[in-house]
Chain length 398, copies 2
């Protein structure tokens, strides 16, 4: 099938584009390179030496003979070009990663909050409006986040895959109703994904669009079989305080001998998924779209849950690097349990990659290989959820 | 207190600004005149001859000695000017009417859908981000809509004021939880108000902003004691298929001898409020803000519910004008009951203005007086919820 990958230059988007191309789909990446532009703004770079999109797709063609298209386009600001692209390309499906995706970045300033909301909401709504305007039957797969649910909301009940069955008291007795799980986002970034859910619900109802929303956990790992084919195809590895995700950060910190940065108590339990499973989940979602008129299909795209301090202790015991307990720049619960339903992907064939599978080493090796590219002044998380919250100074100065 | 009225040039905003000024508040209207610009786009005018803002505030000062400020500013596009305005004026409160407010307009084209989402979401989020950035303690009162709830969702249970108590089944038995009432918007416009709710919930939680969200019914009537003081202060009266609201449209149609336009079965039950009560409700909300750290305070701002065909039959029996049953351009339930909790405002002193109070005549008189300004080609509702839905031709041609 023909698939547009919106945000196909990013950490999840690039390996997904390669995977979909590898299994025979006709892939076109749509990306305005905003993620690279934010690296410039933050004065940081991927630990891995990622190549320009032109080189990436040229190398992919050289190695495999497969073509990946690339359109440099801002979804939030270039609606007319996007609608025209749909009319010209007539894709069967769209995979939508094209949103600002870092919670800390979304909280660092008024400008970053506004950029995150304006970019994510307008971009996503433009995609929906364009699909309706063209009248094309295009299935949409969108990357949400586990963060839409909040943490620990419903006691011992596991977080369901999107929809929650509740009883509503009425004068005639309790009514059972299935509702979208109540939203409890922890940052402006997470909030935008809760807004997206309402956009999707409306367009699925009013226009019968076929939409799948994937509530993904924290992604770890770096390479997929395709990105590992050639160094010029290498995936991003973010380690900075805004864009780096917790497990990859620990692996990188261990590789350079930096104390493992636990912000807050480390009692936060979060859901995780390896990048290799991300790309498989996208494939499965594309192969199992809802039918027109059905409600939005929601999957929890996670394979394991871990408490942050347990991850830190695990990496510490494997590497001998100490754990540093730092002030938490976020406003979040100090401790939470997390029990997540995640049966759907397994039933559809996902064979999860677990921490215990030894893939920790793969990421550590990547981090080792490129350790000299690290800037230790970018490691501490300092984007605070409110003005005036305490942050840590640098722990290591070169 | 000093109050900024965002959207203070509009149908609800202008009488609210006059009312708040009249009772002694220091009022500054912030408006980009977008409502007047949309009239130009739709090639329609208010039935009443509204005057420019400069003249409006000059007449108010001439008659009462009270000054109302006016700042022409686009909330969605001029964030920096808005933040600076807050720093300069240091208001105690903001009343936020500054959103595109017509469901049919929000559905008429891809461009209108996108304008409604971009304008409403970015504008509202800019207000929140600016309040946080300034660190000022400003209470925010926002106009929501009864349409956030959808219609007929919970059987015989009345629609609560914002929050619904539900039971969540867990392995340890049912947990009782108070949740924001699930959203079920019927148009892109209504959807934006459901997005606003999530913005408010997040900023109330993370930044302890003090926010009140008023879920208003369909407003009818034209004048308040202040707008009636002088013809140059007159309020808008919209009668066109996009912006006109059902009861005022019936009154205007009766005044010009046009059949009363019931789109669909007329079995839709909706909530209503007179414009005189709108301004009183805003005053009450301003006088009863939440405290910092409290959740968003939600009121249902409605006084009566009526079924559309019953309203049409009532006006028909009073005036002898026939009822015309026309195709429905909306996708909505043909028939619904509506039972709405609305005790809070009454407890705080609202004495509702009811249809039976004879105020129907006031609006009919306004419609009679300006009947020659009507353009009968603008009466039929033709903004369809999906492409290809049937609409009616004009019933009367001049």
């Amino acid at each position: 099938m023909k698939v547009l990958v919106l945000g196909g230059d990013g950490f999840c988007g690039w390996p997904t584009s390669l995977h979909l191309s590898d299994i025979g789909h006709d892939v076109i990446v749509v990306d305005n390179l905003s993620r690279r532009a934010i690296d410039l703004e933050l004065e940081v770079e991927s630990l891995t030496p990622i190549r320009p999109m032109g080189e990436r797709v040229a190398v992919w063609k050289e190695l495999t003979g497969k073509e990946i298209g690339f359109v440099n386009l801002d979804l939030a600001k270039e609606y007319d070009r996007f609608e025209q692209l749909l009319r010209t390309e007539r894709p069967d499906a769209i995979v939508h990663f094209g949103e600002q995706r870092a919670a800390p970045y979304s909280m660092r300033s008024s400008a970053a909050k506004r950029y995150t909301v304006d970019n994510n909401v307008s971009g996503t709504h433009n995609v929906l409006a364009a699909v309706v305007a063209t009248g094309l039957d295009i299935a949409l797969v969108h990357l949400g986040t586990m963060g839409v649910y909040g943490y620990g909301w419903s006691g011992s009940a596991p977080i369901p895959e999107g929809y929650l069955t509740v009883k509503v008291p009425t004068p005639d007795g309790d009514l059972e109703r299935e509702i979208l799980h109540p939203a409890n986002p922890g940052s402006v970034y997470h909030m935008t994904k809760t807004l997206d859910q309402l956009l999707f619900a409306f367009y699925a109802k009013n226009d019968k669009l076929r939409i799948t929303d994937l509530h993904q956990g924290i992604v770890w790992g770096t390479q997929t079989p395709q990105t590992a084919l050639d160094e010029r195809l290498i995936n991003r590895f973010d380690y900075d305080g805004d864009y780096g995700t917790v497990l990859n950060r620990f692996l990188m910190q261990a590789a350079i001998g930096h104390p493992l940065t636990v912000h807050g108590t480390g009692g936060q339990t979060r859901a995780f998924i390896h990048i290799r499973d991300t790309v498989r989940c996208i494939q499965i979602a594309l192969e199992n779209p809802p039918v027109a008129g059905e409600q939005v299909k929601v999957f929890n795209q996670v394979t394991e849950t871990y408490r942050v301090r347990n991850l830190a202790n695990l990496i510490s015991s494997l590497t001998g690097v100490e754990v540093a307990n730092l002030p938490n720049p976020r406003q979040e619960a100090a401790e939470n349990d997390l029990n997540v339903e995640r049966e759907q992907f397994v039933k559809l064939g996902l064979n999860p990659t677990l921490l215990s599978d030894g893939l920790l080493e793969e990421s550590r090796d990547v981090a080792q290989k490129y350790r000299d590219r690290a800037d230790t002044s970018k490691i501490i998380a300092r984007s605070t959820w409110r003005q005036g919250m305490e942050t840590s100074p640098d722990l290591v100065t070169k």
